[in-house]
Chain length 328, copies 2
């Protein structure tokens, strides 16, 4: 008992495939097809448990109702939640997702982008690890619908959703000062060309009371634990009393390291970009600059759907959402 096709329905009813297709796609009334005929078709389709072959359909009409999503790492809570938000919005609009991870591997990202486009996705939501927009321009077919999330490029002619990273970092530094911190350090992560990171660093530097006080520690993204440990060791003799972690991975590593060392740093205030559930559990609790993840995901999907409609007709939008200071 194989899958029923349009032809099966048509033949069993003595009508044409065309008519069946029209009815099942809701164009029966529009095309003035007899109400009773329509009803018969629908009943039989149900009887035969008809499910349209999406690939035949996609081949024919050139759309597949599938959105590609590429993120650095879905097991990172931030991207996990982002994908969840994207999935919910996409699902409610009738779209499926193909999700892939790059693990910050630029070669893999290149391959994934062309793979997904080959699979005839209708559009792509991308948190890119590229250092330049040119990489994308090269891969992207003419005007293929893309929405960048989280990480964007300057002057890039494409829709995007990001947050006000600079302002968020400023809020973080101001928070530290308000808590009595004299000299805040910034634990940053490589590579710094990622827009979200460089903007946060800018925000940190820009809001320092005394710019000469800037202390920026670069932690390699592929050895966060080690980087944090040696950063702490290095700072031990210096006179700092607050840490701004540029993202949740850094903060997590920092917490672990502190935990391993015992609470030697009790008098150091910590704040992190990205909010994590654990920040509420550890002692002392960690304050955070929270991103509106659900809204990022939802907006990304809707920007993409608008682009499907609009084609080239209107210019790309660069949505920048606000962060929220979560004081603990």
């Amino acid at each position: 008992m194989k899958k029923a096709s349009l032809k099966d329905i048509a033949e069993s009813l003595g009508v044409s495939k065309a008519l069946v297709s029209l009815v099942l796609n809701g164009k029966g009334d529009e095309r003035g097809i007899n109400k009773q005929t329509q009803e018969k078709v629908r009943v039989r389709a149900k009887e035969l448990n008809y499910i349209p072959n999406q690939y035949a359909r996609g081949l024919r009409i050139g759309r597949t109702n599938t959105i590609g999503v590429i993120v650095p790492d879905i097991s990172n809570v931030f991207y996990g939640k982002l994908c969840k938000a994207i999935e919910q919005e996409a699902y409610s609009k009738g779209y499926n997702l193909i999700i892939s991870n790059t693990y910050e591997d630029v070669q893999k990202e290149k391959k994934l982008i062309s793979d997904l486009i080959n699979r005839n996705i209708d559009g792509l939501i991308l948190a890119s690890s590229f250092d330049s927009k040119n990489e994308i321009d090269g891969l992207r077919e003419d005007k293929f619908p893309i929405v960048l999330v989280d990480r964007v490029f300057d002057d890039f002619n494409v829709d995007s959703v990001s947050v006000s990273n600079t302002a968020g970092a400023e809020k973080a530094v101001e928070f530290l000062y308000a808590r009595g911190v004299k000299r805040p350090v910034c634990f940053s992560i490589s590579p710094v060309y990622i827009s979200s990171i460089s903007e946060r660093i800018q925000g940190y530097i820009g809001s320092l009371k005394n710019p000469n006080d800037a202390k920026l520690v670069q932690i390699p993204h592929d050895n966060i634990a080690g980087g944090v440990a040696s950063a702490l060791a290095e700072l031990k003799n210096e006179d700092y009393d607050g840490i701004f972690c540029v993202n949740n991975n850094i903060a997590k590593a920092l917490l672990r390291e502190l935990s391993n060392q015992g609470d030697q740093l009790k008098d150091v205030q910590i704040i992190s970009f990205d909010d994590l559930e654990i920040f509420d559990i550890v002692h002392p609790k960690i304050s955070a600059i929270a991103q509106p993840i659900d809204e990022i995901g939802k907006s990304a999907v809707n920007l993409l759907l608008n682009r499907f409609e609009a084609g080239d007709k209107h210019k790309p939008e660069g949505l920048v959402l606000d962060t929220v200071l979560v004081e603990r």
Copy 2:
């Protein structure tokens, strides 16, 4: 400049589409096609930036190199990591993933399963929220390739990968006893018909020194925080000194609640099924029964690929992997 098709290559070279197709699919030698002709075809394909239309291909050969993955919630770390493991293995074997979440909603799960099958995925990896295998049997077309992960059904004639939940729970209880616990409580989660949960409960009860001591708290999955809080309140007057958390969600909520209350429960030993990074950060550190997530994902993909090859030829396999006690 639109996408190049087989026809474009064929015409520009004065050969047939069939020949081009054969060459590009690596069947050139097998079919004895002139080496030079083959080379010309490959060169031209590259020049024209030819990318095969997967939907035409899928329509024609009935395979799409796409695997569907359905999990309860990808933003749950366990499933996030599982999806990552699945994605890596699938990707290395040339398959793409379509990932969807059910949020434990049985209706959504039903819809997703038929949606995905309609999209002509080649097979499905499923962490089901159904209470019975019948739900799946009803939806699944005849012998459609499925691999169950994490949550399985008894006597269900389908491939599956799970862990030895009962043995894991036993290890947990024994660990508590070894740490001097006299009376361990089990914090469980509803609904209990989920196989992984019920097996862990069994393991807990089965390894109690005195079965009459069994104290099982059911926490509703849609209000974990509240459930944990009232469970703790209820237990406050009882004489218990160890808690076995049946999964990471429970443990996280418990940690948060304890953190909110201050360390009132310092003398209670805690162990959780599933290992989380935070268990290593909080005070006191939490021991855990860790699941071999990467291996679960990898095995699931390979079981599915074997099934593609085998069709009906061999019986379904029920792979049960071991857990690891992580003492802290």
